[in-house]
Amino acid sequence: MTLPPYAEFLGVTVERSDDGRPPVLVMPFTSDVLGRPGFLHGGAIGGLLEMAAIVALWHALDDDSARGKPIGVTVDYMRGGREGPTRAQGTVTRLGSRIANVEAVAWQDDSAKPIASARMNYLLTR
């Protein structure tokens, strides 16, 4: 699985991929993702969630010729992102023939305390 240049820009890498679950992505805290001093920028958190969602979709499709075009995203911000790595994982809630519904969650120290979550819909072309 090759992540696009935008993921590299955010510093996002695949941390682990096990048990057939969608991969967990990790984004280090750097000045490139900083918002107000000491906090992640909401846009960088949104970008990480979008990457986790599309990676989960690629994982579920398991088909290199298939593509998912984003139709829309809704992000809920629950906690400020502090200095430290942020992890995110997507879940494909429904994979249809034309539409995929994907959720993604981002957390820092404790996966039970998400800092943000997203719902995304994709149009599939195969």
Binding site: P4, P5, Y6, E8, F9, L10, S31, D32, V33, L34, G35, R36, P37, H41, G42, G43, A44, G46, G47, L48, L49, E50, M51, R67, K69, P70, I71, G72, V73, T74, V75, D76, Y77, G80
Partner: protein, 152 residues
């Protein structure tokens, strides 16, 4: 979200977005290369120049939707400072974007946001993004923000 706070006058200073963006901005906004275009009483227009590092689909060269999300988050937040006539700390509560079409490769994306309702605690914002023709938008956004300090 945000940016270095402008110099305070009183509790918080009057907000001048042009000065804010012309001073070299660091952090995520600076790394993305985001710039100022125009503003009014309750709206702002920002520009995100096309760059290879922002590509989301290497096959087509289309900019990542996440970068457009960051542009719209920033424009939404700045429109609230304008509507408030001052910088006031805030945090994004939720942000929804409809991606109407892919951004055209090599074009700058222009994001415009308008704060259409302010309450004591919450700001309501809407906006659109296009890549050259405002009549042919590529994204539509709706967002809410909460203030993280006491009312002005």
């Amino acid at each position: 979200m945000t940016a270095p706070a402008p110099s305070p006058a009183g509790a918080f200073g009057p907000f001048d977005p042009r000065r804010l963006f012309e001073a070299r901005m660091g952090g995520h906004v600076g790394a993305l290369g985001m710039g100022y275009r125009a503003h009014g009483d309750d709206w702002i227009e920002l520009e995100l120049p096309y760059a290879d590092r922002l590509i989301g689909d290497p096959e087509t060269g289309v900019m990542a939707s996440g970068a457009i999300l960051a542009l719209m988050d920033m424009a939404c937040g700045a429109s609230i400072w304008l509507a408030n006539r001052a910088f006031r700390p805030q945090a994004t509560l939720d942000l929804r974007i409809d991606y109407l079409r892919p951004a055209t490769p090599r074009n700058s994306v222009i994001g415009r946001a308008e704060c259409y309702r302010l309450t004591r605690s919450i700001a309501f914002v809407r906006g659109q993004a296009h890549d050259g023709d405002a009549a042919d938008p590529l994204a539509q956004v709706a967002a809410t923000f909460m203030f993280t300090s006491a009312p002005l």
